[in-house]
Amino acid sequence: MKMAWKEIMKSKTRYLILGSIIFLISLLTMIISGLANGLSYDNASLIKDMPEGTFYMQEEAEGQYNFSSLDGETRNEIEEASSDAMFLSIQMGEVEAADEKRHGVAFVSTANSDHFPDVEAKRLVLDNSIMKEGISEDEKMTNGLLDHSLKVDGFTDQQKFSHAPVAFINHDDFQNMYRTDAFQLAFIEGNEAPVIDGLSQFTNDEFLNTIPSYSAEQLSLNMIVVFLFVISGMLFGIFFYMINVQKIATYGILKAVGVKTSTLFKMMWVQMIIITIISLVLSVGISQLLGAVMPEGMPFLLTLSSSSMMSLVFLVVGFIGSTVSGIQISKVEPMQAINQGGM
């Protein structure tokens, strides 16, 4: 430990460069991860904030909720299987405000729900993100598919779907708009997931991935995050390889006088841990600060627990990278160093 620290202090520039690179890569990873989480939440907070459970849709819909239709008979079957089953339908659409400005929304109609607002006919409850577009309570909104207006009855917090604010409406209004009394989805909370003929089941995460924009968006961002982890691992490997090559003579001589190979590995690991922890503390701090000052229109969500998890991954990746590069330490022969000369 002491020897590892001594070397860092004696070769400050060398380790400062490594630390800076690790700091920048981990900061970039955390920012991209924060954006990925933010986008994911912005895309589907309606679903993400729901408790863990099972979604049901028609088998014929082949995993596309908007092709699913649960008629009255199927609903009865589901209710027989679980009296707490909730039903919902989602349709992308738009509402027009009094100033004739149109706003894209996701119409959501629910039944038997404890999680979503119970909305009366001819009224709607909107996600509060729409407020900054000038919509206020009691305002009357219209939709081309309805022959009456919908009065804004209130606002909910963080209810978005496919990046659009959710508009909760009464099922009668939904039926009038889309000419169907069927619901698209059923949801049963908890671990209980009865098998029902003709219906396919999805966990919350599985259901999120059936949303086309969600899976494509998350896949791309997560790939970037994974690549950044891989790059940082390789960087650790390359950097420690270069440092180790420069220290072959020192390692050889230390081995000649009887220093254990494990002691040399421990020294390298301690250096890796010191550099990584300092870099990670800085990048976690700065990414949290960035999260607080990000503009409102930029969805960014980076919790301390996900930062900590990423930090742990960085430490593991750094450990693997430095260990792989350190294999050469075990191969160093004292004779090699003695013949090389040196300080």
Binding site: T250, L254, A256, V257, G258, V259, P334, I338
Partner: protein, 224 residues
């Protein structure tokens, strides 16, 4: 009395399909507490003999007995353990650890030898040795600020701080001028006599031979 006995030691190096026999059957008794110098022309096998005896490389054939232990039958970790605790090394170059100060170099050797000394004992011992090699005033200096002779004096202090039974010296004066060589040899001799450390030294330096109690000449892989 011999502290180390070598029987029929051979070393063959392979270069592709050709083989080169460097040591052709060495028998030797190393007298305890004395300085033995190995001399001979380049390629005679003296450095190879020293490094094999010191456990830094393996022999092809033969046996080395050190205090009743057959070194050739031990595994690499057991040999490393002997190197750390019972052997000391001085090389042609000082080979100091660049990021440790003079006194830390010695501390590292004490850690490696796993001596159960108290902090105060360690401090006193390091101070005593550094004073002996006239490097106490440089105790907090890093190797890159020392001259060649000063580095070699620190290397000698490092080699004897843990009170080894045998000190192996491979051309310890080769990189020094005649004045520094004399100083280093006088130092090695006085430490060897004071701590009764057996010394096996390879040298080309004729002036160093006067410090040796015994001189062994090697030629073509054999002792003459």
């Amino acid at each position: 009395m011999a502290i180390l006995t070598i029987n029929g030691l051979e070393k063959t190096f392979k270069h592709g399909s050709t083989e080169e026999k460097i040591l052709k059957g060495i028998d030797l008794d190393l007298p305890e507490g004395e300085i033995t110098a190995l001399v001979g022309a380049s390629g005679s096998g003296k450095s190879t003999l020293l490094t094999i005896v010191a456990g830094l490389q393996k022999s092809t054939k033969g046996e080395i007995f050190f205090a009743d232990e057959n070194l050739t039958s031990l595994n690499s970790n057991q040999v490393r353990n002997i190197r750390a605790k019972r052997f000391g090394f001085v090389f042609q170059q000082a080979h100091l650890v660049p990021f440790l100060t003079v006194q830390e170099q010695l501390g590292l050797m004490l850690d490696t030898a796993e001596l159960k000394w108290s902090k105060e004992e360690r401090r006193q011992e390091i101070k005593a040795i550094l004073k002996k090699v006239d490097m106490w005033h440089h105790r907090d200096t890093y190797p890159d600020s020392l001259s060649g002779g000063e580095k070699q004096r620190v290397a000698i202090a490092r080699a004897v701080i843990h009170q080894p039974e045998i000190l192996f010296a491979d051309e310890p004066t080769a990189s020094l001028d005649s004045k520094r060589s004399k100083e280093v040899m006088e130092l090695l001799t006085s430490l060897s006599k004071e701590f009764r450390i057996t010394v096996l030294m390879v040298t080309h330096d004729e002036s160093a031979l006067k410090y040796a109690d015994y001189t062994i000449e090697m030629k073509d892989g054999l002792i003459e």
